[in-house]
Amino acid sequence: MSWILTLMAPILGGLLYGIERKLKARMQSRQGPPLLQPFYDLFKLSDKRPMMIHSFHAAMGIVHFAAAWVALAVLFFGGDLLVAIFFHLLSAALLIVAGYSARSAYSRIGSTRELIAIAALEPVLILSAIGFYLHSGSFEVSAILNAPPSLLPSILGFAALLIALPGLLKKSPFDAAEGHQEIVGGAEIEFSGRFYEAVYTAKWLDMIFVFTLVFLFGGNNLLLGITLAVSAFLTVVFADNATARVRYTDMVRILYSVAFVLAAANLIVGVVL
């Protein structure tokens, strides 16, 4: 099962991305693209003339995708949650390195914003993982899934993660790192064709990764886990539609003053009380 989930992850992610685009369009009273549009995009990208600004930059896009896939594999094989988060952050870090290596102001500013977003999001992710540990007594995903649901005992941690989700997925209001109308996609701007395909698919894997984290709050209650993941997905799509992008400084302020405080409170409640 772990193998199948890991191998199917890009396809599941593509479908999820297709559903998101469709849902977003319907929220805006539009027809929206077909459900399989992300896959049509992939075919189109693979047909494009191969171009790159330099080899290192292009290769980092592929390694970024590989790291995102490894992060998911750690989760699906029931591995250590902290290790999975490490690979997820490594994936983001590799895209930042790629962004810095391009001689483009948009790419470099996007990379720096991405870095600042990580600085605000990483503590929340780590503290959420510690919340799982406090409840299940282990960082192993397999142990967390065998323990009773941690939603109520770690409700503050869940709230913190929910607030951080748009940032992790670069969705509005925390999409300053991409800022299409402002910095033209940030660190991703210089990728094209098959190299952009890797970056594009990594986004799908990121979606699966973060909603799997939400799913873990259901513990051994599969139905609760699925309900939480679907609810979180709808919340993120709604927030993306209904909110405007905040400045990167406000993003850091909001994430530290609300999400981090909630995650820290969850830790205090779990350890001290």
């Binding site: 290769a59 591995g79 490490f86 503590p123 540990y133 192993e140």
Partner: protein, 207 residues
Amino acid sequence: MLVVLGFVSIALPPFGVFFAKWLVYEGGNGAGGVTTVILLLFIAVGSVALTLLYFKTIGRFLTDGAAQREKEDYRYLIPPAILGVLLLVFALFISVAMGGFFRETAADIVLNPVPVWGDKGGIILPFGQIKLWHILAAFFLLGIAPLLAAIFRFKGVDRVMPYTCGERIETDAYSFYFDPAGKIESFANLLSLVLFLLVILAGAFNL
């Protein structure tokens, strides 16, 4: 090359960056009570500050053409090359080292048994484990892939100029958002000094 080797040395498992943090997080949970809360919050925020510092340097290296063109005498490569080889050896055989020498040495220092075991090429702690394939994957993604990417070139791919909205300007944007950090530099220095002294005092009085 020096910079790349340097960063590889602080990034590779099992000593570098996230893997070192992993050991501290897992170990920190064993402390219990308020100590655990303070420890974990400090690590969570402190590690982020450290990541920013790394990237400030990486950003400078990748965006500064002069730094990339700089040619050093090959002898400067010897110490980091030795370090790189040792890291490679320790990363691949961490299970043996951690399960034997490191654990015994650490136990002698803290005067208590250290709950770390090596198993099938990985590391086991009471709350979780790093498997061999995690170490190998990190090793490839952090060390080998960037080095290969820096050395080899894609064939049959056209090279193009970056997109600049049609403007021909040189930019120096890598540290744009770090500049405001200068305002809190004195405070950060003072805080780190106080924390450093606290570590010495805690060690001296066995707290």
